[in-house]
């Protein structure tokens, strides 16, 4: 039996607003417990919400970036349930009239093909606080610093068909929110959280199977593993003649398994109703246009521009535009050295390898755009060869010397003096009479041997073109 996995993702993105969604309290991560909770966040009697306009703007920005309908009249609702880290006993969210309506997102699959994933909606809501179950000897602690932080919940259509597609979608979403600057998207710190709705069906079936919801998955890798695991669990149950129960499950990354949290069949009745303390948000064309004017160039447009403006391959342009930070880094280097192709090679090649090795993001790069640009500049003006450049690149790490200082102090400057190269060539020819005879007997391959010997003797500094020409000339003489 061939099975197909059907996945829809609900992604909570913590918006990078300075203050909370409905209060003036700060949103800085990592402060001492309950130091960033004002009277509204604490649900003191008599307090009222006031919408943070910055959050609304960010939501609209996201909507425009995914070609979504912007709700001209969005309404906040109260979602009622009791929990100690939910101070008001209700969460202010948007049910019927979200700020962002239907949109779509294009993802690139492993085989290089593109797929469009529908976005059902994205709505603004406030985050809850945190319950702390350790360190209180049988009691629980409550930290309300996070309570009221602005979230954008982005809901996809159930159009993802594998764990890999789900990860590609999530990465694309991550790239967009970072491009837009509306969230840092840090999954480990919880500023991007993912719930996955997973079901399986026989390949070719048109009806969806019963789904389960996996809550709060906090890394790209775990999203993939959790979905793979959950799909297999469901397949096993069905193949054993069982039935899937619609429920919420939690992914345990230590054991690589999901387990039941609570059954949706006995789920809370959230008793949503319009939040009477807030007026409906009315968004007009002028507001939308003012947000549109602030939109940065997004990855798809950037990729196309990299191809046309810099003559890069589509592949390189894709890699370099995958994140705003990477694209900005690349363009900065081009600006300094004036050579886009060399810049692309270095950023996607040596630099990327270095970052991968050290598990760093490009914004944490140990080599600044200034130094990489200078290095490429020296290749371009033939001060050093590409090969020597790799040595200089290594030498840049762990110090603050400039590229020129390193070339100078380590004597890496390319030898272009014809007399010096000629002397090298003569020495190599004199030292290898046997190979000279072979070459003159017509064995062309031996030429590479002479290049190698001469380069070695010059410690790699001889100008390759000059060396080549002189060797040809002398061997054939």
């Amino acid at each position: 039996m061939v099975w197909e996995t059907v996945i829809g993702l609900e992604v909570h993105v913590q918006l990078a607003t300075k203050s909370k969604l409905f209060s003036g309290s700060s949103t800085t991560f990592g402060a001492a417990p309950n130091t960033q909770a004002g009277v509204y966040d604490l649900a003191m009697p008599g307090t009222l919400p006031v919408l943070n306009e910055q959050a609304l703007r960010m939501a609209v920005k996201f909507g425009l970036a995914v070609d979504a309908e912007i709700g001209r009249r969005s309404v906040f609702d109260r979602k009622n349930y009791f929990y100690p880290d939910l101070p008001k006993g209700y969460q202010v969210s948007q049910l019927q009239f979200p700020t962002v309506g239907k949109g779509s997102l294009q993802i690139t699959l492993e085989d290089g093909s593109e797929k469009v994933i529908g976005i059902t909606r994205a709505h603004l809501e406030e985050d809850a606080g945190k319950s702390l179950h350790e360190d209180f000897e049988g009691l629980s602690g409550i930290d309300l610093n996070r309570a009221g932080t602005a979230l954008l919940e982005i809901v996809s259509e159930p159009e993802l068909r594998s764990a890999k597609e789900a990860v590609a979608y999530l990465k694309k979403l991550h790239s967009i929110i970072r491009y837009l600057g509306i969230s840092d998207g840090n999954m480990a710190q919880g500023s991007m959280r993912c719930d996955a709705n997973v079901s399986v069906r026989k390949l070719g079936a048109t009806e969806f199977g019963t789904r389960t919801e996996i809550k709060n998955i906090n890394s790209f890798r775990f999203v993939e593993k959790a979905i793979l695991h959950e799909a297999q669990r469901q397949i096993d149950i069905i193949e054993d003649g069982g039935r899937i129960i619609q429920e919420t499950r939690l992914y345990d990354d230590d054991r690589d398994e999901t387990r039941s949290m609570r059954s949706k069949e006995v789920a809370n009745d959230y008793r949503y109703f319009p939040e009477p303390d807030l007026l409906p948000i009315v968004i007009d064309e002028a507001y939308i246009e003012s947000v549109r004017a602030e939109l940065p160039e997004l990855s798809i447009a950037k990729r196309a521009r990299f191809v046309s403006q810099y003559g890069l391959s589509d592949y390189d342009a894709g890699v370099l535009s995958s994140s705003r930070e990477m694209a900005d880094y690349f363009e900065e280097v081009v600006k300094i050295c004036g050579d886009a192709k060399l810049s692309a090679n270095w950023v996607t090649g040596d630099l990327q390898a270095l970052l991968n090795k050290s598990d760093l993001e490009i914004e944490q790069s140990p080599v600044s755009t200034q130094r990489l640009g200078a290095l490429i500049g020296r290749i371009k003006d033939q001060t050093i060869s590409s090969k020597i450049a790799k040595t200089v690149f290594e030498a840049l790490l762990g110090n603050t010397h400039s590229v020129d200082e390193i070339i100078e102090s380590q004597g890496l400057k390319q030898v272009t003096d014809t007399g010096a190269i000629e002397q090298l060539v003569d020495e190599v020819i004199a030292a290898n009479p046997e190979q000279v005879a072979q070459f003159r007997a017509g064995k062309d391959k031996v030429f590479a041997f002479f290049i190698g010997q001469a380069m070695k003797a010059s410690k790699g500094k001889a100008n390759p073109e000059q060396l080549n020409a002189l060797l040809q000339q002398k061997l054939k003489a």
Binding site: R271, F273, P276, D277
Partner: protein
């Protein structure tokens, strides 16, 4: 001196006839002498009052005073006052000291008023008799066997018995106007959105509105000049600046078009109240007004719609009282659920629990459309009825309540009978309109005591100044508002 209106006291303070400190001491003495009987105050803030009075006297001496500087007032115990017990009439908040000031409190403080204390009220403003208070019922100063009305019963009784010069109240379905009628004083509920709700403990957010409880329409205008205006902390508070409500008080009423809802003169209205209303209409006609009948065809649905919408909002508003962060927490909870259940079961009184249950039911899956949505539709119809009426008339006048004050305990057995007492006031909240209750007559109780009768004047959206003007002109030509109970 304590028996005068705010306007009179303001003039006396300005002339230096007495100081705010002397006036405050006088009120504090009256509270000490009479509060045990009326139970109008939950908390008396004597030290705060004397400090504010001294500050007010100093302000007057420097010439930095306004008309209300040094006037002693009482706040309904629904308004948060920083560092002062704020109970909302509930066991749930019997230990709650507010960490911040309500906007209304802040504005009175800035005007230099003197806070005598916090007045008793129905628990979480849910009630029409002030009998649901955890701190015991309030007694009507006209006849202590009778209720003062509710939910702002403590404020109304305190004003009527001269235990303060003026008081704040809140009105969700009649909670300012009905007690004002029962206590023979003036109570004004402005349009929804005219006064900030920040710091006013929510009962039903889309209906709650603060307002003045005092002895005359002129006093109400003086208080409105302090209370009304935009507040960035309340999104439902209107942005437009409030006018000066004093300047139009003496506008003539010639040509005023008065509408009397035929539904208000139907079955259920007491004969004495109807007689008082008719007499009042004659007074207005004498001032050049014309009277015609208007139709509010959906008014009979207002109580039903209100008792869906208000409890629905209340059921969510009161969820924060969970024993976790402040307020009442049960002893020795076994676990989280036990803590929730017992804290709320023990901390809330029966009327509050009844409304939380009704509201929770109305919002539940499968009932939401039949109750909550239907009630909102009725609310719109009621508003449309008023809009239509206001195309023909400038003000709608009718009774505030069907009857005069009833006896303590008289209506406790049947909540629906009690709810129906608010039949004339509730529609005004649902439509968000300004309404004032002013004294307009007197009936005799079987024990021979006089019982005040109130009439209600309802204006169009944000027509506060006009409503106060009409009420003031009535009071310029009648003396019902000057009558006082024997304390």
């Amino acid at each position: 001196m304590s028996r005068r209106t705010v306007a009179e006291l303001s003039r006396s303070l300005a002339k230096g006839e007495f100081s705010s400190t002397e006036l405050t001491r006088d009120y504090l003495a009256r509270i000490r002498a009479h509060n045990a009987l009326y139970n109008a105050y939950i908390t008396v803030t004597e030290d705060l009052a004397l400090a504010q009075a001294a500050a007010a006297d100093a302000r007057r001496a420097r010439g930095e005073h306004g008309p209300l500087t040094g006037i002693p007032l009482a706040h309904k115990d629904i308004f948060c006052i920083q560092d002062v017990l704020t109970t909302c009439g509930s066991k749930m908040l019997a230990n709650f000291v507010a960490p911040y000031n309500a906007t209304v409190v802040e504005r009175f403080n800035a005007a230099g008023t003197v806070t005598l204390g916090k007045t008793n009220m129905d628990e979480f403003a849910m009630g029409s008799s002030n009998e649901t208070s955890y701190f015991g019922p309030v007694r009507n100063p006209w006849d202590p066997e009778r209720v003062p009305g509710g939910s702002s019963g403590g404020s109304a009784a305190a004003v009527a018995a001269d235990l303060c010069a003026m008081a704040t109240g809140t009105d969700t379905g009649g909670s300012i106007r009905q007690p004002a009628a029962f206590c023979g004083i003036t109570g004004f509920k402005p349009s929804y959105g005219r006064i900030s709700r920040w710091g006013m403990i929510a009962f039903a957010s889309s209906l709650d509105q603060a307002g003045p409880i005092c002895k005359s329409a002129e006093d109400a205008a003086l208080m409105m000049n302090v209370m009304a205006g935009p507040d960035s902390r309340d999104s439902t508070c209107v942005d437009s600046a409030a006018p000066n409500y004093m300047t139009s008080l003496n506008d003539p009423l010639k040509g005023l078009r008065i509408g009397v809802p035929k539904q208000h003169l139907a079955k259920g209205l007491g004969a004495e109240v109807e007689a008082a209303l008719q007499a009042a209409l004659k007074v207005f006609e004498g001032l050049g007004a014309t009277v015609k009948e208007v139709d509010l065809p959906n008014n009979h649905l207002s109580v039903s719609a209100y008792y869906v919408i208000a409890p629905a909002e209340a059921s969510a508003n009161l969820s924060r009282f969970d024993g976790v962060r402040y307020g009442y927490r049960c002893a020795n909870p076994a676990n989280l659920e036990d803590m929730y259940k017992r804290s709320r079961s023990e901390g809330f009184g029966n009327e509050v629990k009844r409304r939380i249950m009704v509201g929770t039911y109305a919002l539940s899956a499968g009932y939401y459309d039949a109750y909550y949505i239907k009630a909102q539709q009725i609310r719109r119809l009621i508003k449309q009825d008023f809009d239509k009426a206001f195309q023909e008339v400038d003000v709608i006048i009718g009774p505030t309540t069907p009857h005069t004050a009833f006896k303590v305990g008289e209506k406790n057995d049947d909540p629906v009978t009690m709810y129906l007492e608010d039949i004339y006031t509730i529609g005004v909240n649902l439509a968000g309109l300004p309404g004032i209750s002013i004294p307009a007559g007197s009936a005799k109780a079987p024990n021979g005591k006089p019982l005040p009768i109130g009439i209600q004047l309802v204006g169009n959206d944000f027509a506060e100044a006009r409503v106060l003007n009409i009420a003031h002109q009535f009071q310029q030509h009648t003396d019902w508002h000057l009558q006082r109970p024997e304390v």
